[in-house]
Symmetry: C2
Subunit: 429 residues, 2 copies
């Protein structure tokens, strides 16, 4: 696939529809490919990436030169930068995905009817996945490998800043697919930087795209959620809460809260709000705030918190619904577990929340009544991750209630159908 | 809720948004209601319907008088007509739904991580379901009961021809909900006949509606699929296929084919196309066509079929993708199971297909490679039904690949979340 110039005369709608049609045609080939064939393709892709290291790094250098000429932050450039170690890590990630169990064909449930019909629910691929991401080149390969292993065709639309890097990596993907007899169209990379391509993909391209997975910041995900005419697996933000109940173990509360906020502040499972039970506010607030501050965290608080602890800035209304992605936390006092549930329902993002308590009944109430994708008891919200859940790899975290929720791993990229085996049964009457 | 006149000055968008907001508020109440409370509400609704039989029949008579004044077919009027027996059947259907197991809170999967975290996947309600249906008054109650039992709020939009009947039935629903302390807004009935209400509902009402379920003919479902901005559980049509392989048992092929087509011709699981393996066409075509004709079915066929059997009309290209819903079938000869799979992929509607063969390898190939919601071996396609699957009741059949596929019963009206139980685990590094 040649790199098209964005200035060239190209009908974006036609180009994208053609990609959709080719993806739909290729979807049947990958859906029916054996586990061995898919794993052989993934192994070939990993080998191809290693063999193309120089080419990939040269393309990446050209992308970075372009970014330096434009208004691009150093942090952004850093995320887009590859080196030999990072290219090797990309290849290894593909091998790790090849090593995961193949979900396609799994029997999810099976039962027999009184008339002897044997019914089972069997995993099938979803079809065609559109993946829209920003300028992290590793996503190109990671997303393609996850989609392939789960039997799906994919259309990748990466950030325009790394299009040359993505093209170089894509060369290895196409070659790896073809080396085992699969069509290269099982994975396609949008070859133009025109933003209209994203709009076209979000229409679903006349039913050829089954689901969209956006990977990137809030503005990208927000646009996708607002415009997509097909289902989207995504989370707009992760405003994760820790609730410290009056029956919490103090040392556990300190350890888990500091870990949930500070282990890595930029991941979506990082805690952004700490809620403390009013019945134990005097006991818990000072040590919790102190421990967070000692770990380098800025603490913003409501009036009660500011009255109990030192060095706490006032929390604005906006703070309660802010995903900082940084060493900042907002701390508030609530009226027990019901107050915590109300607060989370009002300000949360349905991502991940954790209660700290030794009271099993209170924990069960929280776990039952909190309508977030992941609810935890006595554990750090930083465990909100497909790898930590044992899924091996994830394409992202979803906060919607349809189809996939929580970490989106290989199983969540599948659908199912019913298989009915009979011996000549006819329906009476 | 008063019956609003469609000529009255009412801002449809405002009215519908208010319904969406009230549904979202009521969704939490029904999501957290115990099985006992939900069953008590359903029992009260069934009793209320019986108690209001006279009122319901009077409202139905007014609806029917209106239909007779308009351009409404007799068959359509018949479907909309209630009598004492039909009202009693509606009440009994609610009691049958009350007797089904409650899916909310079910543990779908559970596992433990090496760090001791116990993770489970637990069923939760979906949220708010928008149900759009034509003039079968039993759907009003049936859909509301299924949504309630699965912990969901619902907004019902029935056909304008039976709005008075629906209002009378809705009175029993609202009263039943309130009698057990649940808000009446758990089920709402759109009180206007303005078609703009459907358009508003299809937008999702600013995120307050999670899924739309249309129940009705192809034009209704087609409009919903084209316009909806939220997920839809539906099938546009059921073009179901029977494939008779060369290794089929002749008597079984005759019995199953006639049953699949003729038991009831109007249901979506009725067969519309019969495909016969070319390798056995001479042996099977004549008796199969004869059996269908003897059962009163009109047979249309391709050239080979017309050459082998008497009284077969020529099949047009359109016939292969037509859901007759009537005693008509199209019969064609294909090149083995691969030919059948290709034909179904080209002309099918991804609903239900069945292979008749004694060859297990061929059956497995068909069941694996056919991408329809339900695939069968040696069984009648008329079993494509939630009740026949043992689900107890269904709100419809879905042919999409997202979330629900095949019969949509109580479980398919739920989502899930992850519950993580720890003992103070923090994430390392």
């Amino acid at each position: 696939m040649a790199l098209l110039d964005s200035d060239a005369t190209v009908d974006v709608a036609d180009l994208m529809q053609d990609m959709g049609d080719r993806a739909r045609a290729a979807a049947r080939a990958i859906a029916l490919a054996s586990t061995e064939t898919k794993n052989a393709a993934l192994a070939a892709i990993a080998a191809g990436i290693r063999a193309r290291t120089d080419e990939v790094l040269a393309a990446n250098a050209r992308d970075l030169a372009g970014m330096r000429q434009r208004d691009v932050t150093v942090a952004y450039q850093e995320r887009a930068t590859l080196n030999e170690t990072r290219v090797e890590a990309i290849a290894q990630a593909v091998e790790a995905i090849a090593a995961l169990p193949d979900p396609v064909g799994d029997e999810m449930a099976a039962w027999e009817r009184p008339n002897g019909l044997k019914i089972s629910r069997v995993r099938t691929p979803l079809g065609v996945i559109g993946i829209i991401f920003e300028s992290r080149p590793n996503v190109t390969v990671d997303a393609a490998a996850l989609a392939m292993k789960s039997g799906n065709a994919s259309i990748l639309r990466g950030g325009s800043d790394t299009i040359e890097t993505n093209q170089a990596l894509y060369g290895a993907i196409a070659e790896g697919l073809e080396s085992v007899g699969l069509p290269a169209d099982v994975v396609q990379l949008v070859p133009i930087t025109d933003r209209a391509a994203v709009g076209a993909l979000l229409t679903g391209l006349n039913g050829t795209v089954d689901v969209i997975v956006p990977r990137g910041g809030k503005s990208l995900v927000g646009r996708v959620q607002a415009e997509a005419r097909v289902p989207v697996f995504s989370h707009l933000e992760g405003i994760c809460h820790i609730y410290v109940d009056k029956a919490a173990d103090m040392q556990m509360a300190l350890d888990v809260t500091v870990n949930a906020k500070m282990r890595r502040t930029s991941i979506c499972g990082a805690a952004e709000t700490l809620l403390i039970d009013r019945a134990a506010a005097e006991q818990f607030t000072t040590p919790l705030v102190q421990a967070l501050q000692d770990a380098g965290c800025e603490v913003r608080g409501d009036e009660v918190v500011r009255g109990l602890a030192e060095g706490v800035k006032p929390a604005s209304e906006e703070d309660w619904s802010t995903e900082y992605g940084d060493a900042i936390i907002t701390v508030g006092v609530v009226d027990g577990v019901d107050g915590a549930l109300d607060h989370i329902a009002t300000y949360g993002s349905s991502h991940t929340e954790s209660i700290l308590t030794e009271d099993e009944a209170v924990a069960t109430k929280f776990l039952t009544e909190c309508d977030s994708a992941i609810v935890m008891h006595n554990a750090s919200t930083q465990f909100a991750d497909g790898g930590e859940f044992g899924m091996g790899a994830e394409i992202g975290i979803a906060t919607g209630r349809m189809h996939a929720r929580g970490p989106v791993g290989l199983e969540q990229l599948t659908s199912f159908h019913y298989v009915v085996r009979g011996t000549g049964q006819v329906r009476p009457k």
